[in-house]
Amino acid sequence: MIATAQQLREAGVLGLNERNTDFIMRLNPRRLYPRVDDKVLTKELALDAGMAVPELYGIVSNQGEAGDFGTIVADHDSFVIKPAQGSGGDGILVVTGRSQRKRNAFRLSNGVLISAAEIAHHISNIVGGQYSLSGNRDKALIEYCVRFDPVFAEVSYQGVPDIRVIVYRGYPAMAMVRLPTRASDGKANLHQGAVGAGVDMSSGETLTGVLDNDVVDEHPDTGALVAGLLIPQWDFILQSAARGYEVTDLGYLGVDMVIDRDLGPLILEMNARPGLNIQIANCTGLATRIARIDEIYSPDADPVERAHVARREFPAERQTSIHF
C-alpha cells in the first residue's frame, strides 16, 4: 500500500525535495553551516548565548594526541567522544564507566568493554575524517556524558534519549522524543533504528512513536507504552530551541536536547538538515505548520514569546484510534 501524492499533499506532508529546495536552500545559507556542523563552534555559540550545554572536557585535533585522551578523561569515569563535524550520529562513542579492575579499560553504553587503545584508534579515525561530512580532517570532542532524566527510563534501551525540535524561522514547529533501542545500539537516530515519539507541542506530552516509518505504540525492547509521558521543563525546552534561531540564524533548524537529571535540559547539537520522520512520529505534516508560522510570523517576537506561540498554535490532534 502506498499513498498518493494527492493524499500526502492534503495531509501537509513535507517531502525531501521540497525541504531541500524551499527551506534548506532558501533559509539556511551555506556560510552559516559551520555554526551547526562544527560541534565545537555550536557549543561556543550556545554558551555565549547563555544556553546550557554538556561540559566540554577536551578536544583532540591531531592524530598524535589520540593516545593522550586518557589525560583529558583522567577525572571522569563517563564521557562521550564525538566527531566535531559528524553527521547523523555517526562516530559517537558513549563511555559510561571504567572497568573495575583496569582503569584503562572502558565500559560502553551497550555494556561492551573496550580498551584504551581501541578508543585511541577510534579518536584517530575521527581526526582522520572518517565521519566528517566532507571527509576532511576533523576534531574529536570529549564531553560530559549526560545522565538522563528517569522520565524516559522505561522507554529507552541503553543510550540517551533526546528531544528533537524543528524550529522554523525561530518558531518551534514540531518536536519528537528519540528513544534508543537495541537495534539502534544506544543511539538516538531514527535511521539507525531508534523509536521517535511525537510530542504534543502545547502540553509536552508524548504521542505515538515511529519505528522505521511505521507507527508503533510500544518500545520494541522494553514493551512500555511510548505515549503519555510528560516531558519535564517543556517550556524551557521550547524556549531554548527557539533561541537556537538567534544563535545560528538558520531559518530551518533542528535542535537536539537532552534532559540531564541534575542539570536539566542541555543543548546537545543543532542540525541544518533535520530529517522528516518527525512527521510520522507526530502523524502530522510539517508543511501545514510551516504555512501557519509564515502567517503569524513576527520579526520582533523574542524566543519566550515564540515558544508561547508554538504551545498555543500547535496542540496535537488526539488520536484515540491509535491510543487504544
Partner: protein, 506 residues
C-alpha cells in the same frame, strides 16, 4: 522569482538545443538513426571529339534544378583545359577552353547526387509563350489540332493529356501525320509538342534526363515533356500521355538547346555513365552542410580524429547517465553511495557488458569488504587504510583476471576496466555505513548504487541514443535543461509515498 529564472533558463537551453537539432536534422539532413545509408549516384558525362587546328571551346549543359535529388559535389577531369561553370539561358553550363590541342580529346564532367525527396524545384513561373511562327501547311494543321483538342479538354493538364493521346494514336489523324513527318527522334517529337502547346499559349518545354538504375555504362538522355499549368510544372511522358516522371529521373537540361556545343572540334560524341554508391548519411549531410557554409559542420564531432571521436562517444553519454541518476535519486528516491559513483560504475559496465559487470563488481566489492574488515582490526589510520584497500582491489582484479583466463573465460579480463579508485571508495563507504548503521543499510545503499548504475548503463548504451547525442551534441543542452528543471522539483519522491503512508491513512 527564482522559480521563473529556472524555468526561463531551462526553456532557453531547450529551445537553443532543439533549434540547432531541428536545423541540422531538417535542413542539413543529418540522420536520426545510425547506419542510415543513402544511395549516391555518380553520373559521368564524357565528351570526346577530334581537335581542330585552332583554339577549342566546349560548352556542356549540366543539371541545374533537379527535383528529387540533391547535389553532393561535381567536378571535371580535363587535362590542360580551363574549366568554369556559368549560368546560360538554358541553365547551368560547364565550359572548357584550351588554346591548342592535338588529336582526339576526351573530357569528363562528373556530378554526384543523392536522393532527397525534399528537394523540390523552385522554378519560376514562365510567361505565356508568344504564338510561334509556323509555315503553311503546318500552321493550319496545328490550328486544327489545337481547336480539336481544346474541345475535348478542360484545363492545361487535360489538354496536354489529350494532345499526347492524339499525337500517339496508332492510326493518326492526317494533320498529326503531317506534323510528325519531320520528327524522327523522341527529342524532335517533344520539340514539336512544345510548338503545338505554344500555339495554344501553354508554356511548355522539353526536359532531358537520365533514369538512374544501378550501374550503367551507356545511359541515354531521354526527353520528357514539361508543362506549366499556371501554378506549377507538370511532367508528362510524351509517348503515353501519363503524367509522371520515372523514378530516379535526373533532369540534366531543359529546353531544346543542344546538350553540347564544341567550337573548334569535330566528330563530337557525348556519353553518360552512371554508378551507384552507398554512403553514410552522416557523411552526405556533412558534405552538404560544408557546401552551404553552415558552421554546424565545422563544429561536428565527426571532424575530430577517429580516436578522439571514440572517447567522446563515451563521454557524451555521461550526461545521460547523470540524468537517469537525477531521476532515480531525486524523483524515485533510491539511496546510493556517492554522487557520481553509479554513473562511473555504469561507464565500467560498458566495457564488461552488463551481466559480467554486475557479477564482477559484486565479487570485487564483497571480497574488498571482507579484506577491509580484516584491515579494521589492524587499526590503521584512515589514509593508509584507504590506500591498502586500493592496493588490495588491484591485486583482486589481477587475480580475477588470471583465474578467469585460466578457466578460459575472457570476460574476466575486462575486470581491469573497472575504475579501481571507485571500487576502493565504494568498499570504504560501504564498510563505514556497515559499521555505523548496520548491514541492512550498507546492503540497501550498495544495492541502490547497483540499481542506479544498471539503469544508467541501460540508457548509456542505447545505440540510437548514442548516435543521436553524438550526431546532435546540442541535445545535451536539452539534457541540461531537464536536469535544471529536476533541480527545482519539489514534489514527493516515489519512495516517500510509501514512507509517509501512515500520514495519508489518517
Amino acid at each position: 522569482m527564482k522559480q521563473q529564472y529556472v524555468f526561463g533558463l531551462a526553456a532557453f537551453l531547450a529551445i537553443v538545443g532543439l533549434s540547432i537539432f531541428g536545423y541540422k536534422w531538417q535542413v542539413l539532413g543529418f540522420p536520426l538513426s545510425k547506419n542510415q545509408e543513402t544511395s549516391v549516384w555518380t553520373v559521368e558525362s564524357s565528351i570526346s571529339f577530334d581537335s581542330g587546328p585552332g583554339s577549342i571551346k566546349v560548352n556542356l549543359l549540366i543539371p541545374t534544378l533537379t527535383p528529387g535529388f540533391r547535389m553532393l559535389n561535381e567536378n571535371s577531369v580535363s587535362r590542360g583545359y580551363g574549366f568554369s561553370l556559368n549560368y546560360g539561358s538554358g541553365g547551368r553550363e560547364a565550359q572548357w577552353a584550351i588554346r591548342r590541342a592535338d588529336g582526339p580529346q576526351t573530357i569528363y564532367y562528373r556530378i554526384s547526387i543523392f536522393e532527397d525527396a525534399r528537394t523540390d524545384q523552385s522554378d519560376t513561373t514562365p510567361p505565356f509563350p508568344p504564338p510561334p511562327v509556323i509555315n503553311e501547311p503546318f500552321q493550319t494543321a496545328v490550328d486544327v489540332i489545337v481547336a480539336d483538342v481544346k474541345e475535348q479538354s478542360a484545363d492545361t493538364a487535360s489538354f496536354t493529356a489529350e494532345l499526347l493521346h492524339q499525337m500517339n494514336d496508332p492510326s493518326p489523324d492526317p494533320n498529326v501525320e503531317l506534323l510528325l513527318s519531320n520528327a524522327t527522334t523522341r527529342a524532335e517529337f517533344v520539340d514539336s509538342l512544345t510548338t503545338i502547346l505554344a500555339s495554344a499559349r501553354i508554356p511548355a518545354r522539353a526536359v532531358h534526363g537520365i533514369e538512374l538504375q544501378g550501374r550503367q555504362r551507356n545511359a541515354e538522355p531521354v526527353a520528357w515533356l514539361e508543362v506549366h499549368d499556371g501554378d506549377r510544372w507538370r511532367y508528362f511522358n510524351p509517348m503515353t500521355g501519363e503524367e509522371n516522371l520515372p523514378d530516379r529521373f535526373l533532369i540534366w537540361w531543359r529546353g531544346n538547346e543542344p546538350l553540347i556545343n564544341v567550337e573548334g572540334g569535330s566528330n563530337v560524341q557525348v556519353g553518360f555513365a552512371v554508378q551507384e554508391n552507398h554512403l553514410d548519411a552522416v557523411a552526405i549531410a556533412e558534405t552538404h552542410a560544408a557546401q552551404q557554409g553552415a558552421s554546424a559542420a565545422d563544429f561536428s564531432l565527426y571532424s575530430l580524429p577517429i580516436q578522439t571521436q571514440a572517447v567522446y562517444s563515451v563521454l557524451l553519454m555521461i550526461p545521460i547517465g547523470a540524468l537517469v541518476m537525477v531521476v532515480l535519486r531525486n524523483m524515485v528516491g533510491i539511496d546510493a553511495f556517492g554522487t557520481f559513483m553509479p554513473v562511473l560504475i555504469a561507464l565500467a559496465f560498458r566495457e564488461t557488458k552488463l551481466f559480467w559487470g554486475v557479477v564482477l563488481f559484486s565479487i570485487l566489492v564483497a571480497l574488498g569488504l571482507s579484506i577491509r574488515f580484516l584491515l579494521e582490526r589492524l587499526r590503521l589510520l584512515l589514509v593508509p587504510r584507504l590506500s591498502a584497500v586500493l592496493i588490495v582491489v588491484v591485486i583482486l582484479m589481477l587475480l580475477i583476471s588470471l583465474m578467469s583466463h585460466r578457466l578460459g573465460m575472457e570476460t574476466g579480463l575486462s575486470v581491469a576496466l573497472f575504475p579501481m579508485v571507485i571500487i576502493a571508495m565504494t568498499i570504504e563507504r560501504m564498510s563505514v555505513v556497515w559499521e555505523e548503521r548496520g548491514a541492512m543499510d550498507a546492503m540497501r545503499a550498495g544495492l541502490g548504487s547497483l540499481i542506479v548504475a544498471v539503469a544508467a548503463y541501460v540508457f548509456m548504451v542505447m545505440p540510437w541514443l548514442e548516435h543521436l547525442i553524438f550526431t546532435f551534441p546540442e541535445l545535451l543542452l536539452v539534457v541540461l535543461a531537464l536536469v535544471v528543471l529536476a533541480g527545482r522539483y519539489t514534489g514527493y519522491r516515489l519512495l516517500e509515498l510509501s514512507r509517509f503512508k501512515a500520514l495519508a491513512e489518517r
